[in-house]
Amino acid sequence: MSAPIPRRKRRRSAPLMFLAPFGVLFAAMYAVPVGYAIVESLHKVQRSGLGLTPPKRVYAGFENYTKALHDDALWHGVGRVLLFGAVQVPVMLGLALVLALLLDAKSARLKGFFRTAYFLPYAIPGVIATILWAFLYMPRSSPVVSMLDAVGLPSDFLGEDAVLWSIANVVTWTWTGYNMLVIYSALQAIPQELYEAAELDGCGPWRTAWRIKVPLVAPAIALTTVFSVIGTLQLYTEPRVLRPLTSSLDADYTPIMSAYHKAVENNDYGQGAAVSVLLALGTCLLSFAVLKLSARLTNGRSSL
Protein backbone atom coordinates (compact mmCIF):
# COMPACT_ATOMS: atom_id res chain seq x y z
CA MET A 1 0.00 0.00 0.00
CA SER A 2 1.77 3.12 -1.15
CA ALA A 3 -0.70 5.97 -1.28
CA PRO A 4 -3.24 6.36 1.52
CA ILE A 5 -6.69 5.40 0.30
CA PRO A 6 -9.34 8.05 0.83
CA ARG A 7 -11.63 7.13 3.69
CA ARG A 8 -14.80 7.21 1.58
CA LYS A 9 -13.42 4.68 -0.77
CA ARG A 10 -12.28 2.47 2.05
CA ARG A 11 -15.73 2.46 3.51
CA ARG A 12 -17.18 1.43 0.18
CA SER A 13 -14.81 -1.48 -0.16
CA ALA A 14 -15.23 -2.54 3.49
CA PRO A 15 -18.27 -4.81 3.01
CA LEU A 16 -16.48 -6.57 0.20
CA MET A 17 -13.48 -7.18 2.40
CA PHE A 18 -15.70 -8.51 5.16
CA LEU A 19 -17.60 -10.78 2.82
CA ALA A 20 -14.63 -12.06 0.84
CA PRO A 21 -13.21 -14.73 3.21
CA PHE A 22 -16.62 -16.29 3.75
CA GLY A 23 -17.46 -15.82 0.09
CA VAL A 24 -14.41 -17.69 -1.16
CA LEU A 25 -15.00 -20.69 1.08
CA PHE A 26 -18.72 -20.58 0.42
CA ALA A 27 -18.10 -20.68 -3.30
CA ALA A 28 -15.65 -23.54 -2.94
CA MET A 29 -17.76 -25.65 -0.60
CA TYR A 30 -21.29 -24.81 -1.76
CA ALA A 31 -21.54 -23.13 -5.14
CA VAL A 32 -18.86 -25.08 -6.98
CA PRO A 33 -19.95 -28.50 -5.65
CA VAL A 34 -23.52 -27.80 -6.70
CA GLY A 35 -22.35 -26.80 -10.16
CA TYR A 36 -20.02 -29.76 -10.30
CA ALA A 37 -22.80 -32.16 -9.36
CA ILE A 38 -24.99 -30.75 -12.12
CA VAL A 39 -22.24 -31.10 -14.75
CA GLU A 40 -21.35 -34.57 -13.55
CA SER A 41 -24.98 -35.66 -13.64
CA LEU A 42 -25.04 -34.93 -17.38
CA HIS A 43 -22.13 -37.26 -18.08
CA LYS A 44 -21.52 -40.95 -17.96
CA VAL A 45 -18.57 -43.25 -18.16
CA GLN A 46 -18.48 -45.45 -21.21
CA ARG A 47 -16.63 -48.68 -20.91
CA SER A 48 -15.84 -50.71 -23.98
CA GLY A 49 -17.26 -54.18 -24.08
CA LEU A 50 -13.94 -55.97 -23.75
CA GLY A 51 -12.33 -53.50 -21.42
CA LEU A 52 -9.38 -53.12 -23.77
CA THR A 53 -9.62 -49.35 -24.04
CA PRO A 54 -9.75 -47.15 -20.94
CA PRO A 55 -13.25 -45.98 -19.95
CA LYS A 56 -14.31 -42.68 -21.49
CA ARG A 57 -16.38 -39.93 -19.89
CA VAL A 58 -19.00 -38.83 -22.38
CA TYR A 59 -21.91 -36.40 -22.40
CA ALA A 60 -25.08 -38.28 -21.58
CA GLY A 61 -27.78 -35.61 -21.65
CA PHE A 62 -30.58 -36.45 -19.30
CA GLU A 63 -29.95 -40.18 -19.40
CA ASN A 64 -28.89 -40.32 -15.75
CA TYR A 65 -32.04 -38.47 -14.77
CA THR A 66 -34.36 -40.75 -16.74
CA LYS A 67 -32.64 -43.71 -15.19
CA ALA A 68 -33.05 -42.24 -11.71
CA LEU A 69 -36.72 -41.47 -12.29
CA HIS A 70 -37.31 -45.08 -13.34
CA ASP A 71 -35.38 -46.48 -10.40
CA ASP A 72 -37.87 -48.35 -8.24
CA ALA A 73 -35.48 -48.75 -5.31
CA LEU A 74 -34.92 -45.00 -5.21
CA TRP A 75 -38.65 -44.30 -5.27
CA HIS A 76 -39.17 -46.77 -2.47
CA GLY A 77 -36.55 -44.90 -0.47
CA VAL A 78 -38.28 -41.58 -1.20
CA GLY A 79 -41.65 -43.00 -0.16
CA ARG A 80 -40.13 -44.41 3.02
CA VAL A 81 -38.55 -41.10 3.96
CA LEU A 82 -41.78 -39.20 3.26
CA LEU A 83 -43.77 -41.62 5.39
CA PHE A 84 -41.14 -41.25 8.07
CA GLY A 85 -41.40 -37.46 7.96
CA ALA A 86 -45.19 -37.43 7.91
CA VAL A 87 -45.24 -39.35 11.19
CA GLN A 88 -42.01 -38.44 12.95
CA VAL A 89 -41.97 -34.67 12.42
CA PRO A 90 -45.46 -34.01 13.85
CA VAL A 91 -44.86 -36.38 16.77
CA MET A 92 -41.52 -34.80 17.62
CA LEU A 93 -42.65 -31.20 17.24
CA GLY A 94 -45.93 -31.90 19.04
CA LEU A 95 -44.00 -33.31 21.97
CA ALA A 96 -41.53 -30.42 21.84
CA LEU A 97 -44.38 -27.90 21.87
CA VAL A 98 -46.17 -29.60 24.77
CA LEU A 99 -42.95 -29.79 26.79
CA ALA A 100 -42.13 -26.16 26.07
CA LEU A 101 -45.62 -25.06 27.12
CA LEU A 102 -45.50 -27.14 30.30
CA LEU A 103 -42.08 -25.82 31.24
CA ASP A 104 -43.35 -22.32 30.61
CA ALA A 105 -46.47 -22.88 32.72
CA LYS A 106 -46.64 -21.88 36.34
CA SER A 107 -47.52 -25.35 37.54
CA ALA A 108 -44.23 -26.98 36.52
CA ARG A 109 -41.51 -27.74 39.06
CA LEU A 110 -37.83 -28.57 38.69
CA LYS A 111 -37.76 -26.74 35.40
CA GLY A 112 -33.98 -26.58 35.24
CA PHE A 113 -33.64 -30.33 35.70
CA PHE A 114 -36.25 -31.16 33.09
CA ARG A 115 -34.84 -28.72 30.56
CA THR A 116 -31.39 -30.23 30.91
CA ALA A 117 -32.72 -33.80 30.79
CA TYR A 118 -34.64 -33.14 27.57
CA PHE A 119 -31.82 -31.25 25.93
CA LEU A 120 -29.04 -33.67 26.85
CA PRO A 121 -29.51 -35.99 23.82
CA TYR A 122 -28.76 -33.06 21.50
CA ALA A 123 -25.17 -33.12 22.75
CA ILE A 124 -24.90 -36.78 21.76
CA PRO A 125 -23.88 -37.28 18.11
CA GLY A 126 -26.29 -39.20 15.88
CA VAL A 127 -23.81 -42.02 15.45
CA ILE A 128 -23.40 -42.48 19.19
CA ALA A 129 -27.13 -42.12 19.81
CA THR A 130 -27.82 -44.81 17.24
CA ILE A 131 -25.20 -47.12 18.73
CA LEU A 132 -26.78 -46.63 22.17
CA TRP A 133 -30.26 -47.37 20.95
CA ALA A 134 -28.96 -50.29 18.87
CA PHE A 135 -27.82 -51.94 22.09
CA LEU A 136 -31.32 -51.35 23.44
CA TYR A 137 -32.88 -52.81 20.28
CA MET A 138 -30.76 -55.94 19.96
CA PRO A 139 -32.25 -58.94 21.75
CA ARG A 140 -28.81 -60.08 22.89
CA SER A 141 -28.06 -56.98 24.90
CA SER A 142 -31.33 -55.18 25.43
CA PRO A 143 -32.98 -55.04 28.84
CA VAL A 144 -36.01 -53.53 27.10
CA VAL A 145 -36.47 -56.51 24.81
CA SER A 146 -36.29 -58.96 27.70
CA MET A 147 -38.82 -56.87 29.63
CA LEU A 148 -41.21 -56.83 26.67
CA ASP A 149 -40.73 -60.55 26.10
CA ALA A 150 -41.56 -61.19 29.73
CA VAL A 151 -44.97 -59.57 29.34
CA GLY A 152 -45.52 -60.97 25.87
CA LEU A 153 -45.34 -57.75 23.88
CA PRO A 154 -43.74 -57.57 20.40
CA SER A 155 -40.07 -56.68 20.68
CA ASP A 156 -38.58 -57.15 17.24
CA PHE A 157 -37.21 -53.59 16.97
CA LEU A 158 -34.92 -54.31 14.04
CA GLY A 159 -37.43 -56.32 11.98
CA GLU A 160 -38.44 -55.21 8.55
CA ASP A 161 -41.67 -53.51 9.63
CA ALA A 162 -40.40 -52.00 12.84
CA VAL A 163 -36.97 -50.75 11.91
CA LEU A 164 -38.19 -47.51 10.30
CA TRP A 165 -39.95 -46.57 13.53
CA SER A 166 -36.96 -47.62 15.58
CA ILE A 167 -34.96 -45.12 13.53
CA ALA A 168 -37.72 -42.54 14.05
CA ASN A 169 -37.38 -43.10 17.78
CA VAL A 170 -33.64 -42.34 17.67
CA VAL A 171 -34.24 -39.14 15.70
CA THR A 172 -37.06 -38.07 18.02
CA TRP A 173 -34.91 -38.79 21.05
CA THR A 174 -32.03 -36.70 19.68
CA TRP A 175 -33.95 -33.68 18.43
CA THR A 176 -37.03 -33.15 20.61
CA GLY A 177 -35.12 -31.29 23.31
CA TYR A 178 -33.46 -28.98 20.85
CA ASN A 179 -36.77 -28.10 19.22
CA MET A 180 -38.34 -27.69 22.64
CA LEU A 181 -35.64 -25.19 23.57
CA VAL A 182 -36.21 -23.15 20.41
CA ILE A 183 -39.95 -22.98 21.10
CA TYR A 184 -39.33 -22.37 24.80
CA SER A 185 -37.13 -19.37 24.20
CA ALA A 186 -39.78 -17.96 21.87
CA LEU A 187 -42.30 -18.42 24.69
CA GLN A 188 -39.99 -16.62 27.10
CA ALA A 189 -39.93 -13.64 24.78
CA ILE A 190 -43.70 -13.08 25.08
CA PRO A 191 -44.33 -10.03 27.27
CA GLN A 192 -45.90 -10.89 30.64
CA GLU A 193 -48.51 -8.15 30.30
CA LEU A 194 -50.19 -10.18 27.61
CA TYR A 195 -50.88 -13.00 30.07
CA GLU A 196 -52.12 -10.59 32.69
CA ALA A 197 -54.56 -9.12 30.22
CA ALA A 198 -55.71 -12.61 29.26
CA GLU A 199 -56.19 -13.54 32.90
CA LEU A 200 -58.25 -10.43 33.53
CA ASP A 201 -60.41 -11.48 30.63
CA GLY A 202 -60.96 -14.80 32.37
CA CYS A 203 -58.69 -16.94 30.20
CA GLY A 204 -57.71 -20.21 31.88
CA PRO A 205 -54.25 -21.73 31.44
CA TRP A 206 -55.39 -24.02 28.61
CA ARG A 207 -56.99 -21.22 26.68
CA THR A 208 -54.02 -18.95 27.29
CA ALA A 209 -51.74 -21.66 25.96
CA TRP A 210 -53.82 -22.43 22.91
CA ARG A 211 -55.10 -18.95 22.04
CA ILE A 212 -52.14 -16.76 22.96
CA LYS A 213 -48.93 -18.74 23.34
CA VAL A 214 -49.20 -21.11 20.38
CA PRO A 215 -50.06 -18.42 17.81
CA LEU A 216 -47.26 -16.20 19.13
CA VAL A 217 -44.63 -18.92 18.83
CA ALA A 218 -45.93 -20.09 15.45
CA PRO A 219 -42.90 -18.62 13.62
CA ALA A 220 -40.58 -20.68 15.83
CA ILE A 221 -42.66 -23.78 15.16
CA ALA A 222 -42.53 -23.06 11.43
CA LEU A 223 -38.76 -22.78 11.56
CA THR A 224 -38.33 -26.02 13.47
CA THR A 225 -40.67 -27.68 10.95
CA VAL A 226 -38.56 -26.58 8.00
CA PHE A 227 -35.36 -27.81 9.59
CA SER A 228 -36.98 -31.08 10.61
CA VAL A 229 -38.25 -31.66 7.07
CA ILE A 230 -34.78 -31.03 5.66
CA GLY A 231 -33.35 -33.35 8.29
CA THR A 232 -35.81 -36.06 7.32
CA LEU A 233 -34.96 -35.94 3.64
CA GLN A 234 -31.28 -36.32 4.38
CA LEU A 235 -31.84 -39.25 6.69
CA TYR A 236 -28.62 -41.19 6.50
CA THR A 237 -26.58 -41.57 9.68
CA GLU A 238 -29.04 -43.61 11.72
CA PRO A 239 -29.91 -46.25 9.10
CA ARG A 240 -26.27 -46.39 8.02
CA VAL A 241 -25.09 -47.16 11.54
CA LEU A 242 -27.84 -49.76 12.04
CA ARG A 243 -27.30 -51.40 8.67
CA PRO A 244 -24.52 -53.83 9.64
CA LEU A 245 -26.63 -54.99 12.57
CA THR A 246 -29.75 -56.06 10.73
CA SER A 247 -30.76 -57.48 7.39
CA SER A 248 -33.82 -55.20 7.22
CA LEU A 249 -31.91 -52.25 5.75
CA ASP A 250 -30.74 -52.44 2.14
CA ALA A 251 -28.26 -50.19 0.38
CA ASP A 252 -31.07 -48.04 -1.07
CA TYR A 253 -33.00 -47.68 2.18
CA THR A 254 -33.02 -43.87 2.05
CA PRO A 255 -32.41 -41.60 -0.97
CA ILE A 256 -29.05 -40.38 0.35
CA MET A 257 -27.93 -43.94 0.96
CA SER A 258 -28.99 -44.68 -2.59
CA ALA A 259 -26.97 -41.78 -4.02
CA TYR A 260 -23.91 -42.84 -2.07
CA HIS A 261 -24.37 -46.46 -3.07
CA LYS A 262 -24.52 -45.55 -6.76
CA ALA A 263 -21.66 -43.08 -6.76
CA VAL A 264 -19.12 -44.74 -4.52
CA GLU A 265 -19.94 -48.42 -4.30
CA ASN A 266 -21.10 -48.80 -7.92
CA ASN A 267 -18.55 -46.29 -9.19
CA ASP A 268 -21.22 -44.50 -11.21
CA TYR A 269 -20.64 -40.85 -10.30
CA GLY A 270 -23.00 -39.53 -12.94
CA GLN A 271 -25.86 -41.58 -11.62
CA GLY A 272 -25.09 -40.65 -8.02
CA ALA A 273 -24.85 -36.98 -8.95
CA ALA A 274 -28.18 -37.08 -10.78
CA VAL A 275 -29.85 -38.59 -7.73
CA SER A 276 -28.22 -35.92 -5.52
CA VAL A 277 -29.42 -33.10 -7.76
CA LEU A 278 -32.96 -34.48 -7.84
CA LEU A 279 -32.93 -34.78 -4.06
CA ALA A 280 -31.63 -31.24 -3.61
CA LEU A 281 -34.39 -29.96 -5.90
CA GLY A 282 -36.99 -31.97 -4.02
CA THR A 283 -35.72 -30.71 -0.69
CA CYS A 284 -35.74 -27.09 -1.80
CA LEU A 285 -39.27 -27.43 -3.19
CA LEU A 286 -40.55 -29.10 -0.06
CA SER A 287 -38.91 -26.63 2.35
CA PHE A 288 -40.13 -23.77 0.20
CA ALA A 289 -43.66 -25.17 0.36
CA VAL A 290 -43.43 -25.52 4.14
CA LEU A 291 -42.13 -21.94 4.42
CA LYS A 292 -44.92 -20.57 2.24
CA LEU A 293 -47.53 -22.52 4.11
CA SER A 294 -46.20 -21.37 7.48
CA ALA A 295 -46.00 -17.78 6.25
CA ARG A 296 -49.68 -18.00 5.41
CA LEU A 297 -50.54 -19.58 8.76
CA THR A 298 -48.51 -17.04 10.72
CA ASN A 299 -49.44 -14.03 8.61
CA GLY A 300 -45.94 -13.56 7.33
CA ARG A 301 -44.23 -13.43 10.69
CA SER A 302 -41.96 -16.34 9.92
CA SER A 303 -38.35 -15.38 10.45
CA LEU A 304 -36.81 -17.00 7.39
Binding site: F18, V32, A105, F113, F119, A123, I128, V182, I256, C284
Partner: protein
Protein backbone atom coordinates in the same frame (compact mmCIF):
# COMPACT_ATOMS: atom_id res chain seq x y z
CA UNK B 1 -38.90 -16.13 34.29
CA UNK B 2 -42.16 -17.53 35.48
CA UNK B 3 -40.72 -19.32 38.48
CA UNK B 4 -41.31 -16.51 40.93
CA UNK B 5 -44.33 -18.21 42.43
CA UNK B 6 -42.68 -21.59 42.86
CA UNK B 7 -41.56 -22.33 46.41
CA UNK B 8 -38.10 -23.85 46.82
CA UNK B 9 -38.03 -27.56 46.11
CA UNK B 10 -38.46 -29.70 49.18
CA UNK B 11 -37.61 -33.40 49.29
CA UNK B 12 -41.01 -34.35 50.62
CA UNK B 13 -42.77 -32.56 47.81
CA UNK B 14 -44.34 -35.64 46.36
CA UNK B 15 -46.11 -36.77 49.52
CA UNK B 16 -46.84 -33.69 51.53
CA UNK B 17 -49.78 -31.58 50.52
CA UNK B 18 -48.49 -29.21 47.95
CA UNK B 19 -48.43 -25.61 48.99
CA UNK B 20 -50.83 -24.02 46.60
CA UNK B 21 -48.80 -21.51 44.73
CA UNK B 22 -50.12 -18.14 45.61
CA UNK B 23 -49.24 -15.93 42.76
CA UNK B 24 -48.55 -12.35 43.63
CA UNK B 25 -50.49 -11.18 40.67
CA UNK B 26 -51.88 -14.34 39.10
CA UNK B 27 -54.43 -16.95 40.02
CA UNK B 28 -53.63 -19.87 42.25
CA UNK B 29 -52.46 -22.99 40.48
CA UNK B 30 -54.49 -25.98 41.60
CA UNK B 31 -52.47 -28.71 43.23
CA UNK B 32 -53.89 -31.43 41.01
CA UNK B 33 -52.61 -29.86 37.82
CA UNK B 34 -49.23 -29.37 39.43
CA UNK B 35 -48.96 -33.07 40.28
CA UNK B 36 -50.19 -34.09 36.85
CA UNK B 37 -47.81 -31.77 35.06
CA UNK B 38 -44.82 -32.81 37.10
CA UNK B 39 -45.60 -36.52 36.72
CA UNK B 40 -45.85 -36.15 32.99
CA UNK B 41 -42.59 -34.23 32.85
CA UNK B 42 -40.95 -36.98 34.91
CA UNK B 43 -42.27 -39.67 32.60
CA UNK B 44 -40.83 -37.91 29.57
CA UNK B 45 -37.55 -37.33 31.40
CA UNK B 46 -37.34 -41.08 32.03
CA UNK B 47 -37.55 -41.67 28.30
CA UNK B 48 -34.78 -39.18 27.55
CA UNK B 49 -32.51 -40.33 30.34
CA UNK B 50 -33.00 -44.09 29.99
CA UNK B 51 -30.35 -44.63 27.28
CA UNK B 52 -27.97 -42.35 29.18
CA UNK B 53 -28.47 -44.36 32.34
CA UNK B 54 -27.94 -47.56 30.35
CA UNK B 55 -24.72 -46.09 28.99
CA UNK B 56 -23.43 -45.14 32.44
CA UNK B 57 -24.24 -48.56 33.85
CA UNK B 58 -22.97 -50.52 30.86
CA UNK B 59 -19.64 -48.75 30.63
CA UNK B 60 -18.74 -50.35 33.95
CA UNK B 61 -19.32 -53.87 32.63
CA UNK B 62 -17.10 -56.45 31.02
CA UNK B 63 -17.98 -57.74 27.55
CA UNK B 64 -19.59 -60.80 29.09
CA UNK B 65 -21.75 -58.93 31.58
CA UNK B 66 -22.82 -56.54 28.86
CA UNK B 67 -24.88 -59.34 27.36
CA UNK B 68 -25.55 -61.49 30.39
CA UNK B 69 -26.72 -59.16 33.11
CA UNK B 70 -29.59 -56.78 33.68
CA UNK B 71 -28.89 -53.85 31.37
CA UNK B 72 -30.30 -51.27 33.75
CA UNK B 73 -28.30 -52.30 36.77
CA UNK B 74 -24.64 -52.78 37.68
CA UNK B 75 -22.79 -56.09 37.55
CA UNK B 76 -19.09 -56.52 38.34
CA UNK B 77 -17.24 -53.20 38.32
CA UNK B 78 -15.05 -53.19 35.24
CA UNK B 79 -14.83 -49.50 34.36
CA UNK B 80 -11.11 -49.14 35.05
CA UNK B 81 -10.23 -52.14 32.92
CA UNK B 82 -12.54 -50.93 30.14
CA UNK B 83 -10.91 -47.50 30.12
CA UNK B 84 -7.41 -48.98 30.11
CA UNK B 85 -8.32 -51.26 27.21
CA UNK B 86 -10.03 -48.36 25.38
CA UNK B 87 -6.97 -46.14 25.48
CA UNK B 88 -4.50 -48.90 24.63
CA UNK B 89 -6.45 -50.74 21.90
CA UNK B 90 -4.77 -50.60 18.51
CA UNK B 91 -1.88 -48.49 19.80
CA UNK B 92 -4.13 -45.97 21.51
CA UNK B 93 -6.03 -45.02 18.38
CA UNK B 94 -9.12 -43.97 20.35
CA UNK B 95 -7.37 -40.95 21.84
CA UNK B 96 -6.27 -40.00 18.35
CA UNK B 97 -9.91 -40.11 17.19
CA UNK B 98 -11.03 -37.89 20.06
CA UNK B 99 -8.24 -35.47 19.30
CA UNK B 100 -9.26 -35.40 15.63
CA UNK B 101 -12.88 -34.72 16.53
CA UNK B 102 -11.85 -31.84 18.77
CA UNK B 103 -9.56 -30.45 16.08
CA UNK B 104 -12.26 -30.61 13.39
CA UNK B 105 -15.07 -29.30 15.57
CA UNK B 106 -13.20 -26.55 17.41
CA UNK B 107 -11.01 -25.54 14.45
CA UNK B 108 -13.92 -25.54 12.02
CA UNK B 109 -16.18 -23.90 14.57
CA UNK B 110 -13.84 -21.02 15.38
CA UNK B 111 -13.07 -20.19 11.75
CA UNK B 112 -16.70 -20.59 10.67
CA UNK B 113 -17.86 -18.32 13.48
CA UNK B 114 -15.39 -15.59 12.66
CA UNK B 115 -16.13 -15.70 8.92
CA UNK B 116 -19.88 -15.76 9.54
CA UNK B 117 -19.59 -12.82 11.94
CA UNK B 118 -17.73 -10.73 9.36
CA UNK B 119 -20.15 -11.61 6.60
CA UNK B 120 -23.23 -11.11 8.75
CA UNK B 121 -21.93 -7.78 10.02
CA UNK B 122 -21.26 -6.59 6.47
CA UNK B 123 -24.73 -7.62 5.33
CA UNK B 124 -26.37 -5.93 8.29
CA UNK B 125 -24.39 -2.74 8.63
CA UNK B 126 -23.44 -1.62 5.13
CA UNK B 127 -25.68 -0.65 2.29
CA UNK B 128 -24.35 -1.82 -1.02
CA UNK B 129 -25.71 -3.12 -4.26
CA UNK B 130 -26.47 -6.81 -4.40
CA UNK B 131 -26.80 -7.10 -0.64
CA UNK B 132 -30.24 -8.67 -0.81
CA UNK B 133 -29.20 -11.07 -3.56
CA UNK B 134 -26.13 -12.24 -1.65
CA UNK B 135 -28.18 -12.82 1.47
CA UNK B 136 -30.79 -14.80 -0.49
CA UNK B 137 -28.12 -17.06 -1.96
CA UNK B 138 -26.64 -17.72 1.48
CA UNK B 139 -30.08 -18.38 2.92
CA UNK B 140 -30.87 -20.72 0.06
CA UNK B 141 -27.73 -22.68 0.89
CA UNK B 142 -29.12 -23.35 4.36
CA UNK B 143 -31.79 -25.42 2.64
CA UNK B 144 -29.31 -27.62 0.78
CA UNK B 145 -28.86 -30.84 2.70
CA UNK B 146 -25.19 -31.28 3.55
CA UNK B 147 -25.00 -34.95 2.52
CA UNK B 148 -25.89 -33.82 -0.99
CA UNK B 149 -22.88 -31.55 -1.02
CA UNK B 150 -20.63 -34.22 0.38
CA UNK B 151 -20.47 -36.30 -2.80
CA UNK B 152 -19.46 -33.47 -5.14
CA UNK B 153 -17.07 -32.13 -2.49
CA UNK B 154 -15.51 -35.56 -2.35
CA UNK B 155 -15.12 -35.68 -6.14
CA UNK B 156 -13.63 -32.18 -6.22
CA UNK B 157 -11.25 -32.78 -3.36
CA UNK B 158 -10.05 -35.98 -4.96
CA UNK B 159 -9.12 -33.96 -8.06
CA UNK B 160 -6.92 -31.65 -5.99
CA UNK B 161 -5.56 -34.53 -3.90
CA UNK B 162 -7.04 -33.32 -0.64
CA UNK B 163 -9.03 -36.48 -0.01
CA UNK B 164 -7.69 -38.36 2.98
CA UNK B 165 -6.19 -35.24 4.55
CA UNK B 166 -7.54 -33.21 7.46
CA UNK B 167 -8.53 -30.48 4.99
CA UNK B 168 -11.23 -32.71 3.55
CA UNK B 169 -13.11 -32.24 6.81
CA UNK B 170 -11.77 -28.87 8.00
CA UNK B 171 -12.49 -26.84 4.86
CA UNK B 172 -16.21 -27.69 4.66
CA UNK B 173 -16.43 -27.27 8.44
CA UNK B 174 -15.23 -23.68 8.19
CA UNK B 175 -18.33 -22.52 6.27
CA UNK B 176 -21.62 -21.88 8.02
CA UNK B 177 -24.35 -20.17 5.97
CA UNK B 178 -26.71 -20.56 8.90
CA UNK B 179 -24.13 -18.72 11.00
CA UNK B 180 -24.23 -15.81 8.58
CA UNK B 181 -28.00 -15.73 8.90
CA UNK B 182 -27.77 -15.64 12.70
CA UNK B 183 -24.98 -13.06 12.71
CA UNK B 184 -26.83 -10.76 10.34
CA UNK B 185 -30.07 -11.00 12.30
CA UNK B 186 -28.26 -10.24 15.53
CA UNK B 187 -26.05 -7.46 14.19
CA UNK B 188 -29.07 -5.76 12.66
CA UNK B 189 -30.87 -5.74 15.99
CA UNK B 190 -27.99 -5.01 18.33
CA UNK B 191 -25.13 -3.03 16.78
CA UNK B 192 -26.21 0.63 16.78
CA UNK B 193 -25.38 2.67 13.67
CA UNK B 194 -24.65 5.70 15.85
CA UNK B 195 -21.85 3.86 17.61
CA UNK B 196 -20.23 2.92 14.30
CA UNK B 197 -20.63 6.48 13.07
CA UNK B 198 -19.07 7.88 16.26
CA UNK B 199 -16.10 5.52 15.94
CA UNK B 200 -15.64 6.64 12.35
CA UNK B 201 -15.59 10.28 13.43
CA UNK B 202 -12.92 9.31 15.94
CA UNK B 203 -10.87 8.08 13.02
CA UNK B 204 -11.16 4.32 13.52
CA UNK B 205 -10.84 2.13 10.46
CA UNK B 206 -13.66 -0.13 9.36
CA UNK B 207 -11.94 -3.36 10.37
CA UNK B 208 -11.00 -1.92 13.73
CA UNK B 209 -14.59 -0.84 14.35
CA UNK B 210 -15.73 -4.35 13.54
CA UNK B 211 -13.22 -5.92 15.89
CA UNK B 212 -13.69 -3.56 18.83
CA UNK B 213 -17.39 -2.76 18.59
CA UNK B 214 -19.05 -5.29 16.30
CA UNK B 215 -17.51 -8.46 17.64
CA UNK B 216 -17.97 -7.38 21.24
CA UNK B 217 -21.65 -6.57 20.89
CA UNK B 218 -22.26 -9.65 18.80
CA UNK B 219 -20.59 -11.99 21.28
CA UNK B 220 -23.80 -13.78 22.39
CA UNK B 221 -24.54 -14.55 18.74
CA UNK B 222 -20.96 -15.69 18.23
CA UNK B 223 -21.19 -18.23 21.03
CA UNK B 224 -24.43 -19.52 19.57
CA UNK B 225 -22.98 -19.82 16.07
CA UNK B 226 -19.90 -21.52 17.47
CA UNK B 227 -21.94 -24.07 19.41
CA UNK B 228 -24.12 -24.81 16.41
CA UNK B 229 -21.12 -25.40 14.22
CA UNK B 230 -19.34 -27.37 16.92
CA UNK B 231 -22.30 -29.75 17.16
CA UNK B 232 -22.73 -29.93 13.39
CA UNK B 233 -19.09 -30.85 12.77
CA UNK B 234 -18.89 -33.17 15.76
CA UNK B 235 -21.98 -34.96 14.47
CA UNK B 236 -20.97 -35.02 10.84
CA UNK B 237 -20.66 -38.56 9.69
CA UNK B 238 -21.24 -38.67 5.97
CA UNK B 239 -18.45 -36.35 4.86
CA UNK B 240 -15.59 -37.94 6.85
CA UNK B 241 -16.98 -41.36 5.97
CA UNK B 242 -16.47 -40.79 2.26
CA UNK B 243 -13.42 -38.53 2.34
CA UNK B 244 -11.25 -40.19 4.97
CA UNK B 245 -9.77 -43.64 4.42
CA UNK B 246 -6.86 -43.41 6.82
CA UNK B 247 -8.22 -44.36 10.22
CA UNK B 248 -5.64 -42.13 11.90
CA UNK B 249 -7.58 -39.15 10.55
CA UNK B 250 -11.01 -40.38 11.60
CA UNK B 251 -13.17 -38.48 14.05
CA UNK B 252 -14.37 -40.49 17.02
CA UNK B 253 -17.83 -41.12 15.54
CA UNK B 254 -16.32 -42.91 12.56
CA UNK B 255 -14.02 -44.97 14.73
CA UNK B 256 -16.76 -46.11 17.08
CA UNK B 257 -18.97 -46.96 14.13
CA UNK B 258 -16.23 -49.13 12.67
CA UNK B 259 -15.85 -50.98 15.97
CA UNK B 260 -19.60 -51.30 16.27
CA UNK B 261 -20.09 -52.58 12.72
CA UNK B 262 -18.10 -55.70 13.42
CA UNK B 263 -20.87 -58.24 13.73
CA UNK B 264 -18.99 -60.52 16.09
CA UNK B 265 -18.68 -57.52 18.41
CA UNK B 266 -15.27 -58.22 19.84
CA UNK B 267 -15.19 -54.56 20.84
CA UNK B 268 -18.63 -54.30 22.42
CA UNK B 269 -17.39 -53.11 25.81
CA UNK B 270 -15.03 -50.65 24.10
CA UNK B 271 -17.85 -49.26 21.95
CA UNK B 272 -19.89 -48.61 25.07
CA UNK B 273 -17.17 -47.04 27.19
CA UNK B 274 -15.89 -45.18 24.12
CA UNK B 275 -19.35 -43.75 23.52
CA UNK B 276 -19.41 -42.47 27.08
CA UNK B 277 -15.96 -40.88 26.85
CA UNK B 278 -16.67 -39.31 23.46
CA UNK B 279 -19.86 -37.69 24.72
CA UNK B 280 -18.16 -35.97 27.66
CA UNK B 281 -16.35 -33.14 25.76
CA UNK B 282 -19.51 -31.95 24.03
CA UNK B 283 -21.61 -32.13 27.17
CA UNK B 284 -18.87 -30.18 28.96
CA UNK B 285 -18.81 -27.57 26.21
CA UNK B 286 -22.55 -27.10 26.53
CA UNK B 287 -22.39 -27.03 30.28
CA UNK B 288 -19.84 -24.24 30.34
CA UNK B 289 -21.28 -22.24 27.48
CA UNK B 290 -25.00 -22.69 28.07
CA UNK B 291 -25.33 -19.31 29.76
CA UNK B 292 -24.38 -17.68 26.48
CA UNK B 293 -26.30 -20.00 24.23
CA UNK B 294 -29.14 -18.03 22.72
CA UNK B 295 -31.76 -20.29 21.20
CA UNK B 296 -34.09 -17.34 20.80
CA UNK B 297 -31.85 -16.29 17.92
CA UNK B 298 -33.07 -19.31 16.03
CA UNK B 299 -36.66 -18.58 16.87
CA UNK B 300 -36.19 -15.16 15.33
CA UNK B 301 -37.21 -13.29 18.45
CA UNK B 302 -34.05 -11.28 18.88
CA UNK B 303 -34.23 -8.90 21.78
CA UNK B 304 -30.81 -7.41 22.20
Amino acid sequence: MTTLTTPPASPARDRAPLPVAKAGKGRATPMRSQVLTTSFLFLVATYFLMPVWWLLVSSTKSSGDLFNSNGFWFADWNLGANLRQLFSEDGGIFLRWVFNSVLYAVGGGVVATFLAAMAGYALAKYKFRGRGAIFSVILGAVLIPTPMLALPIYLMLSKVHLVDTIWAVLLPAAVSPFGVFLAKTYAEASVPDELIEAARLDGAGEFRIFCTIGLRIMSPALVTIFLFQLVAVWNNFFLPLITLNDQHLWPVTLGLNAWNSDLTQPHANLVVVGALVSVIPLVAAFWSLQRFWRTDLVAGGVKA
